[in-house]
């Protein structure tokens, strides 16, 4: 009997092919949309964490209040002791100090006269310590366009776009003009050892990467840094864990009036990211929800249409002596088969397209030209565990529930009317 029903279902394209296409298409869209939003959010979190916020950040209260101005005169001092204490107390995180700065990069000609000048946004990171993971974290190796990663003090990387704008090449000497921690002018010469492209518009517009100790020297910040970033060693931002550590750390300084006492912030606390992420997730879930609702309605309708189309067949089966519950069950099994088949196909295709979008992404650099948000130029989808079931489960449920409701008509069918109904 099962073989008989499957045979009928496969031959009747309105009963099999069409609903399978509808289910597969709905599941495909849901999988892609979800994975895309998820991937985009993850990229956003990841980029912000790696280049700006860390999973946790420690700075001074005063620095935090004026963070957008990168006020290095309000930076952390006693860095070594603080780092040691963080490493001891929170060993699940990799702690690293950074200095962010802005300045003017000057490139002299062979006579020492200014040939080109351009404002730069700088990031001083620990490039040379054995313990440091900063090169990997910032993906410096793969971001190099020309030259190499700094190997000794005094070497810097600048963004390739900036290098082209200033007509600078590898090995050229450049001068940074900035403000030191005392508010005085800082002047320091560097050698450009490489150019980079991070794929993040904010960084690629005009970034300069130096070693931390070089900038500590240049900005007169011995044993100091603008901020200490903490990265969960699992490499994932775990909001609850980060929040727990933040509360624990800040509780030690809760009664301090000192504007230079350290304060810890989670990734979500910074740059309005928490609100942005909540908003983005809300929009994402709305989009996925609308897709799911639309898909469910379409599938429910498909189930109802199928019920109407098969009215005659059900009538004959009832007349021939098949019990109502048995017909109902067989139709439900069919819908489960269709739901599973469509959902498997939809999920597989969805994952394949998601994989493509994960590998190659969509270039949105044009729209980020004037953006200050730390967002990658390529937005990518991400295959996660959820991607495997976000479309599959609703696809299967919507098909089955649609048929469950439409199939109730079988029980309402009056066998007394069969002769009349079947005489059409």
């Amino acid at each position: 009997m099962i073989r008989f029903l499957i045979k009928g279902m496969l031959r009747d394209h309105h009963r099999s092919l069409f609903p399978i296409i509808v289910v597969a298409f709905g599941v495909l869209l849901t999988t892609i949309v979800y994975s895309f939003i998820d991937g985009d959010m993850n990229d956003l979190i990841d980029s912000n964490a790696r280049f700006d916020t860390g999973h946790l950040k420690i700075t001074t209260r005063a620095y935090d209040n004026l963070a957008s101005q990168m006020p290095n005169d309000l930076a952390l001092t006693g860095l070594e002791k603080l780092m040691q204490s963080l490493n001891n107390e929170y060993p699940g995180y990799d702690w690293t100090a950074r200095i962010k700065f802005v300045g003017l990069l000057d490139m002299p000609d062979e006579n020492g006269e200014t040939k080109a000048q351009n404002p730069v946004f700088g990031l001083a990171v620990d490039l040379f310590s054995k313990r440091s993971n900063e090169k990997e974290r910032l993906n410096l190796g793969k971001s190099i366009v020309r030259g190499k990663v700094p190997e000794k003090p005094g070497e810097i990387l600048i963004s390739d776009e900036l290098a082209k704008k200033m007509d600078t090449d590898i090995g050229h000497s450049v001068t940074l003009l900035s403000t030191n921690s005392s508010g005085a002018m800082a002047v320091q010469n560097f050698i450009v050892c490489g150019t980079v492209r991070f794929g993040i518009t904010v960084m690629d517009r005009g970034a300069m990467i130096t070693d931390l100790s070089d900038m500590q020297y240049a900005l007169d910040m011995p044993n100091g840094a603008g901020e200490i970033l903490g990265f969960n060693k699992s490499k994932f931002y775990l909001p609850a864990d980060a929040e727990k550590i933040r509360i624990n750390f800040n509780s030690k300084f809760i009664n301090s009036d000192d504007q230079f006492s350290p304060i810890m912030l989670t990734l979500g606390d910074q740059n309005g990211l928490s609100e942005y992420l909540q908003y983005a997730y809300l929009i994402g879930f709305l989009i996925v929800g609308i897709f799911l609702l639309a898909m469910s309605i379409v599938l429910l309708n498909t189930g109802l249409m199928s019920g109407i189309r098969r009215y005659g067949e059900v009538g004959v089966r009832l007349a021939l002596g098949e019990a109502k519950d048995r017909i109902y069950k067989s139709i439900l099994y069919e819908s489960i088969f269709i739901g599973i088949t469509g959902s498997v196909i939809g999920t597989a295709l969805g994952l394949a397209i998601t994989w493509y979008l994960q590998e190659y992404g969509i270039d949105i650099s044009e729209t980020l030209r004037n953006s200050s948000i730390m967002m990658p130029n390529l937005i990518r989808a991400k295959i996660s565990f959820t991607s495997f079931y976000i479309g599959f489960i609703p696809g299967l449920l919507a098909t089955t529930i649609g048929t469950t409701f439409s199939g109730i008509q079988i029980f309402k069918r009056q066998t007394a009317s069969l002769f009349k109904e079947l005489e059409v």
Binding site: M1, F4, R11, V316, L318, L320, G321, A323, F419
Partner: protein
């Protein structure tokens, strides 16, 4: 078996509600049908032919009185028991054939046997035998849309007969057929009635059908007005 009562209808009443009022489709019908009868319920539209067929076929329950079909009171059957009775003992032939379009002729005829959970060999033998009865063995692999009206109705007869039911109920089986096909179908049913002793009950007002009947039960306004033995 012959001449033993297979259907006994006693003072059968069937009312259909029409808002606050009701319409009496059967008004105290009494009827006995013997095994092997080739019997027609004849009468104008609205006389109660199909209603009576419905009740005998356990498709509907009477409002009053009783219909005993193969020693079972239709009144006392629940949905499942009624389905079982139809499945095991009653074949149906409809005016418009009602073959399942996605299945072949063979599979259409096979369907009642699947409901009876017959094994594959039994099914194959029974289906081919039924197709042989109606002269359609060469069309076993055809789809219903490849058949003429007469052929389709012969498949419907094969489907009704394949399980060799005790009773076959046919509602206007020749209404959509031309004269030649009607005679062909009726002759086939007549032959099966004689060979297999299956009881045939027709609801009809077609003169061609009436010509083949051995018993004519005349209905009017829900009552049996005449019961004529034509054999």
């Amino acid at each position: 078996m012959i001449d033993s009562k297979i259907i006994e209808v006693n003072n059968l009443i069937k009312d259909y509600s029409m808002g606050k009022q009701f319409f009496r489709a059967l008004n105290g019908v009494n009827l006995s049908v013997n095994t092997g009868d080739f019997c027609g319920l004849v009468g104008p539209s609205g006389s109660g032919k199909t209603t009576l067929l419905n009740i005998i076929g356990a498709l509907d329950n009477p409002t009053g009185g009783d219909a005993i079909v193969m020693d079972k009171s239709v009144n006392s059957l629940n949905h499942k028991e009624a389905a079982k009775l139809r499945n095991e003992s009653i074949g149906f032939i409809f005016q418009t054939y009602n073959l399942l379009p996605v299945y072949t002729v063979f599979e259409n005829v096979e369907f009642p046997l699947l409901l009876l959970k017959k094994n594959k060999t039994e099914r194959e033998e029974s289906v081919m035998r039924a197709l042989e009865w109606v002269g359609l063995t060469d069309k076993a692999n055809s789809k219903p849309n490849q058949l003429s009206g007469g052929e389709s109705q012969r498949v419907a007869v094969a489907r009704a007969m394949v399980k060799i039911p005790r009773i076959v109920l046919a509602d206007e089986p020749t209404a959509n057929l031309d004269a030649a096909n009607s005679h062909n179908i009726l002759k086939t049913m007549q032959r099966l009635n004689l060979e297999l002793k299956t009881t045939f009950i027709f609801a009809t007002h077609d003169e061609k059908v009436i010509g083949y009947l051995r018993r004519k039960v005349m209905l009017n306004d829900g009552k049996v007005i005449d019961d004529i033995n034509l054999s």
